[in-house]
């Protein structure tokens, strides 16, 4: 009993430390003035209005962030689907190699990938275009939908496939009626993982945007040396809210513990 209480206490302390910087940032975003103070001075929501409505720098950065995140997450899912399917259906050496290559950018230090992408897009002459940012993030986060879709494909009951095959279903029909419906939650989860991480990524974006546009995190990164302002804290709060909403949705409509690799036999 005592050990149990100690365990609860330890988890609570971990949760508190994990929340600490988030609480501080959320508090600082309420500052009425222009300096980051905690606890906030003259607390009000004027910085929120500034971030979402009046300051064009932030409004444009937010628009860019949204476009890059949705574009790259969609592209990553589109690229990941055939890869994951090939890997699952064939398991050939080539499909395994491809999946390995596709996970490379996510596994290695992002600054190296960012530098490389910077060189690549400079050669093609497209450095600084918004679509380049979208494609770059899609490549960086390809691994996420790849993993979630693979998990989803593995969860398909073989009996369903055998039944479909004995009843004479073609590959296309099996795909549409058995495989696709069962993997949709996993596909959507992969999309959202890529979306949220793209929102928060900045170092690859820094190298491929070539200062011609900025996302929200990049804008903050660029003004790092001039110090933080409460408006940036508003950005942080907005992003945390988005993350929590997205992952709650994944937990609500998908099986989060399973996606994270928990044993599926224990429910």
């Amino acid at each position: 009993m005592f050990g149990r209480a100690l365990g609860q206490l330890f988890m609570a302390v971990c949760g508190l430390v994990l929340a600490l910087p988030i609480i501080v940032v959320a508090g600082a975003s309420l500052n009425g003035g222009r300096t980051m103070l905690f606890p906030p001075e003259d607390p009000n929501f004027s910085r929120f209005v500034e971030f979402f409505v009046t300051e064009t720098i932030w409004v444009r950065a937010l628009q860019n962030s949204i476009m890059v995140a949705f574009g790259s997450a969609a592209l990553a899912v589109l690229l990941a689907w055939p890869l994951a399917y090939l890997l699952w259906a064939r398991g050939s050496r080539m499909s395994r190699a491809l999946a390995g290559l596709g996970s490379l950018p996510f596994a290695l230090p992002p600054i190296v990938f960012g530098v490389g992408l910077g060189f690549l897009w400079a050669f093609t002459g497209s450095l600084g275009a918004l679509w380049v940012g979208i494609v770059s993030h899609a490549a960086l986060f390809l691994a996420l939908p790849l993993v979630t879709i693979s998990i989803g494909l593995q969860a398909i009951d073989r009996a369903h496939l055998d039944a479909a095959a004995t009843m004479g279903a073609t590959e296309t029909v099996t795909f549409r009626t058995v495989i696709l419906p069962q993997t949709i939650p996993y596909t959507v989860s992969g999309f959202f993982f890529a979306l949220v991480l793209s929102f928060n990524e900045f170092i690859v974006m820094f190298f491929v945007s070539a200062s011609s546009y900025a996302t929200v995190t990049l804008q903050i990164f660029n003004s790092l040396r001039n110090g933080y302002t409460p408006t940036m804290a508003v950005a942080a709060v907005a992003f945390i809210v988005v993350s929590i909403a997205v992952f709650s949705a994944v937990a609500r409509w998908g099986d989060l513990p399973r996606l994270m690799g928990a044993d599926q036999s224990r429910n």
Partner: protein, 323 residues
């Protein structure tokens, strides 16, 4: 991070009736290779290039950039280990932070997997949200917490903790460690702040990486040990730790590789003399020094170091799965 160690799990080939489109898979392969591999190839190729004064760089094949990294540009007349030292700091911060994160995340994750499915889901949402939180936001939060005008040093001052430290003599110890100025404690800039923030940065990753292994832990084993009279500590050291030893080391290696590339934390919290290779890469490619080939060479060294440790992690995961 998890994709690499999972990709080999997915090879069970249940659908026998899949007739394929070979050309389609070739196109796929080309797109993936172009996007995911050419950037790394270019970095390696350019690392052998040459800087052109005032005009960027040109293709070449010279080992000069690597020589400069290991012994300095003026070798053999003069030897400097400045760049090697930066790599050393990259490894130093990353090792300590990764080990700290895994050590604290392990008991947490173990306790988490003993909770009900719903509670686990709620914790996972929170952990994933803080995991995906951008490094810039995390640094911002800790910056406010650790900076001298607000946050912890203020708290130390107003609560009288600083005076207590001064009376008991601990203050001088803190000054020796570089964690205090003559008047109050200070955490910026210090190794302490750098490692703390890095550790925080990967802590949620540590939980996510340890979660599968710990939640698949066979409960009947621990229960059997308990009924045979083993205390909790004994169960931990004789049953649990041996089964999760390999995932534990594998997770530490992955976090370590991840931390080697962290940039903002080091720029904000580390002393200027103790910056890392990742910062140097940034400076050389886009920052003040502007020497793309040398930046690329440093990136390659970072890449190789990362690859070696990822290889170790991969071997460990493979081995733990075959057990």
């Amino acid at each position: 991070m998890t994709a690499v160690d999972r990709s080999d799990v997915t090879v069970a080939a249940p659908a026998a009736q899949c007739a394929g489109l070979p050309w389609g898979s070739w196109v796929m392969g080309a797109v993936v290779a172009f996007l995911c591999v050419t950037p790394f190839v270019l970095v390696i190729a350019i690392s052998f290039g040459q800087k052109v004064e005032g005009a960027g760089w040109e293709w070449s094949f010279t080992w000069a950039n690597y020589q400069r990294f290991f012994v300095g540009a003026l070798w053999p007349e003069e030897v400097t280990f400045l760049h090697v030292q930066r790599l050393w700091y990259s490894l130093y911060y990353a090792v300590i932070a990764a080990v700290l994160a895994v050590l604290t995340a392990f008991p947490f994750t173990y306790l988490l997997t003993r909770q009900s499915r719903g509670t686990q889901s709620r914790w996972l949402v929170f952990i994933l949200a803080s995991l995906s939180l951008s490094e810039v936001f995390i640094v911002m939060g800790w910056d406010v917490l650790l900076s001298n005008r607000s946050g912890l040093p203020m708290l130390f001052e107003t609560s009288g903790l600083t005076d207590w430290l001064k009376r008991t003599g601990w203050f001088d110890v803190l000054r020796e460690w570089g964690l205090a100025n003559p008047r109050n404690v200070k955490f910026k800039t210090s190794e302490f702040a750098t490692i703390l923030t890095m550790s925080y940065l990967v802590w949620p990753y540590a939980v996510i990486l340890l979660y599968p292994a710990l939640s698949r832990l066979d409960r009947s084993l621990t229960e059997a040990a308990r009924t045979m009279g083993a205390g909790p500590l004994r169960v931990m050291t004789t049953v649990i730790l041996p089964t999760v030893k390999l995932p534990l080391i594998g997770a530490t290696l992955l976090l370590f590789v991840f931390l080697m590339g962290s940039y903002v934390t080091v720029v904000v919290f580390a002393e200027p003399a103790k910056q890392t290779t990742a910062v140097a890469v940034y400076e050389a490619v886009r920052g003040s020094t502007l020497n793309a080939p040398f930046g690329a060479a440093q990136a390659v060294i970072l890449l190789l170091t990362a690859a070696v440790f990822l290889g170790f992690a991969q071997i460990l995961t493979k081995r733990s799965e075959s057990l």
